[in-house]
């Protein structure tokens, strides 16, 4: 385990493990954290995993960790690594099994008081319209040809089906569609797993929340995003379901051979990788983009279902039920982007594993309506606490390959969380706080207890102080829907 003595403090919120810490490191590793968060981070193997990331061939500048870093498999969750394009490597483990797991935020015109009287019905309707739970299928089964279209077109596929608006796509990372997706590189097993799962939340830490904006920190950005105090909003957190899980599994298996072919030596088999410009690297990139597109479409279908639920429950009471998309962004993804690397502008493959894009004002990839303030960064907290909307900064472009944190970050194992509280007790506590809960599994609910996570406020305070994102608003839940 790495000890605090071995870290060099760069400034108040930035710590470095020098390249000399281990002979196989190609670059230093850097962690964004307050001293208190760092103490918690050093309690598991996450820093050791970050050091492993620093050994990847072609890695540029630093292996980076956001303050919500915690132990994963292979890469730590909260890790960012940029590799040289096209001769550096791509590592499926650096993107994760849940390819394009991400978050979408929808804003209503309603105030909390208007929704409260119908909140129980709304939560029940959302639970019915947005299927959740282990292996649960959705309302939109796909045949093979349709699945391929989803894989290529992403959220844009939903436009033709009447489940998306042009403005939803404009306000989604990459317009809801990564180019270069090729279903020819997706296995029959992945197709089989994906076919029934479009428009489903899944289980684990995935959720759908009805929230209320409680505080505005940066009025100009809040105005641009259409957010104000007291407003009801909806957060959707999920990914590419079995389709993405199987694509990652297939390529992590294939890359076990590729590392031998290309003579790559790694400290952990889960980090297997292949150079981007090899047939293996190109195939994975094309398949991974299919999964990413499936996830964009998945959240788009869920957004459509959420809109239906709002209309069905609130429309008959004469309330304005429409929901406008604020943003949708990925937090498990690999993207080819332009960045400054030691003074040279070049393309790199940015792996974000439990980390988000955080592009600053003026960047052409930020939606036109937000370009003067920067890209929205959505940071869901733990259930029952708070979530944040941040905005990307120029600082992130300089220091973190345009990346920021993705959530609160676990600090307690799921097993310990289950031991500490019963699901029914937790549900009672949340309801006493005025939060309506619809959950398929009480054990699953207990695993996601708020105390199992780091304090999300401490996490966003660090990224703000470090200058890689800026706080815009804080939202708090009034209804939680999960599997």
């Amino acid at each position: 385990m790495v000890s605090k003595r071995e870290l060099v403090q760069i400034d108040e919120f930035l710590w470095e493990i020098p390249k000399g810490y281990r002979p196989d490191m190609r670059v230093p590793a850097r962690v964004y954290a307050s001293e208190a968060l760092l103490d918690a981070i050093l309690g598991d193997k996450s820093i050791e995993q970050l050091v492993n990331v620093a050994t990847l061939p072609g890695i540029q500048k630093y292996a980076l960790a956001m303050p919500d870093i915690h132990q994963g498999y292979g890469f730590p969750i909260g890790g960012v690594a940029a590799t040289a394009w096209p001769d550096g490597v791509i590592s499926p483990g650096g993107i994760g099994y849940d390819i394009n797991c991400g978050v979408r935020l929808l804003a209503s015109e309603l105030d909390e008081e208007e929704v409260r009287p119908y909140l129980d019905d709304l939560a029940t309707c959302l639970y019915q319209y947005c299927p959740s739970g282990v292996g649960r299928g959705g309302h939109y089964p796909l045949n093979n040809a349709e699945l391929e279209r989803v894989a290529v077109e992403g959220a844009r596929w939903c436009l033709k089906k009447g489940m998306a608006r042009e403005e939803d796509l404009e306000r989604t990372e990459e317009g809801g569609r990564l180019s270069g997706a090729d279903p020819a590189h997706v296995s029959p097993q992945a197709r089989k797993r994906g076919r029934q799962q479009l428009g489903t939340l899944g289980a684990g830490n995935h959720f759908l929340e009805v929230d209320v904006v409680r505080e505005v920190y940066y009025p100009e950005a809040a105005d641009a995003f259409g957010l104000r105090v007291g407003q009801v909003v909806v957060l959707i957190h999920c990914g590419s379901r079995g389709f993405g899980h199987q694509i990652a599994t297939d390529y992590i298996r294939e890359f076990q051979r590729a590392v031998h072919t290309y003579g790559i030596v790694l400290p952990d088999r889960e980090l297997v990788c292949a150079p981007l410009d090899t047939p293996e690297g190109e195939r994975y990139l094309a398949a991974m983009r299919c999964a990413a597109n499936f996830a964009f479409a998945n959240r788009q279908v869920l957004a459509h279902q959420v809109r239906r639920a709002f209309e069905d429950v609130l429309g008959c009471h004469g309330l304005p039920f429409d929901l406008v998309q604020v943003y949708d962004l990925a937090h498990n993804i690999g993207k080819v982007e332009w960045h400054d690397v030691n003074g040279v502008r070049r393309q790199v493959c940015v792996h974000r594993k439990g980390a988000t894009r955080s592009f600053g004002p003026g960047h052409p990839d930020v939606p036109a309506a937000y370009r003067h303030v920067g890209q929205p960064v959505l940071v869901p907290g733990s259930m029952g606490t708070a979530s944040y909307v941040l905005v990307g900064t120029e600082g992130a472009m300089v220091a973190t390959f345009g990346s920021s944190c993705h959530g609160a970050g676990r600090q307690m194992s799921r097993r310990k969380a289950k031991k500490s509280i019963k699901g029914a007790t937790l549900r009672g506590q949340l309801e006493a706080q005025g939060i309506v809960v619809r959950a398929g599994s009480m054990k699953g609910l207990a695993e996601e207890a708020p105390f199992a996570y780091k304090d999300v406020e401490a996490v966003v305070d660090v990224v703000e102080a470090a200058g890689v994102a800026r706080k815009v608003v804080r939202v708090e839940p009034i209804a939680v829907i999960k599997g």
């Binding site: 994760g96 990652a248 599994t249 952990d268 889960e270 297997v272 398929g440 599997g483």
Partner: protein, 143 residues
């Protein structure tokens, strides 16, 4: 939780995911136990309630012994994901370093499956035999 009392595996502490340590008196038994451990997690400790209705033949070939364990479990996970049935009994009929054949019995769970295992990982993966001849495997699942 019933599944933690199982004599052939234990859950290990892991911040975000689920790790298990499985044992077997022989290598085939280790592979059988690893499969049952994974399905006991998915079943939330209620695997005994799953009826063994369908017998299926499974064959896997891999790069090495550790990959074989990952591929075997992945094969069964895909079986669950695509049929909705849990594996409640497994018999490995042939096992070499890189090849395996087995019969598994599956059935629909009379309850809501509990653990959403996304994948079987290679992280911290170990297959080893101790001095007394017992085989041990450590497996981390992405959940």
């Amino acid at each position: 939780m019933a599944h933690r009392k199982s004599p052939f595996f234990e859950e290990l502490s892991h911040t975000a995911d689920v790790a298990v340590r499985v044992r077997g008196r022989s290598l085939p038994e280790l592979f059988e136990h690893a499969a049952l451990a994974m399905f006991q997690l998915i079943a939330g400790g209620e695997l005994e309630r799953v009826p063994p209705l369908h017998e299926r033949e499974v064959g896997v070939a891999s790069l090495d012994l550790e990959s074989l364990l990952v591929d075997w479990l992945t094969e069964l996970l895909v079986l669950f994901a695509t049929t909705g049935e849990l594996v409640c009994r497994a018999r490995v009929t042939a096992l070499e370093e890189t090849r395996l054949r087995a019969s598994v019995w599956t059935g629909p769970p009379p309850f809501e499956p509990y653990e959403d295992i996304k994948a079987v990982t290679y992280h911290d993966l170990r297959v080893e035999q101790d001095e007394e001849g017992t085989w041990w495997a450590t497996i981390v699942f992405d959940v």
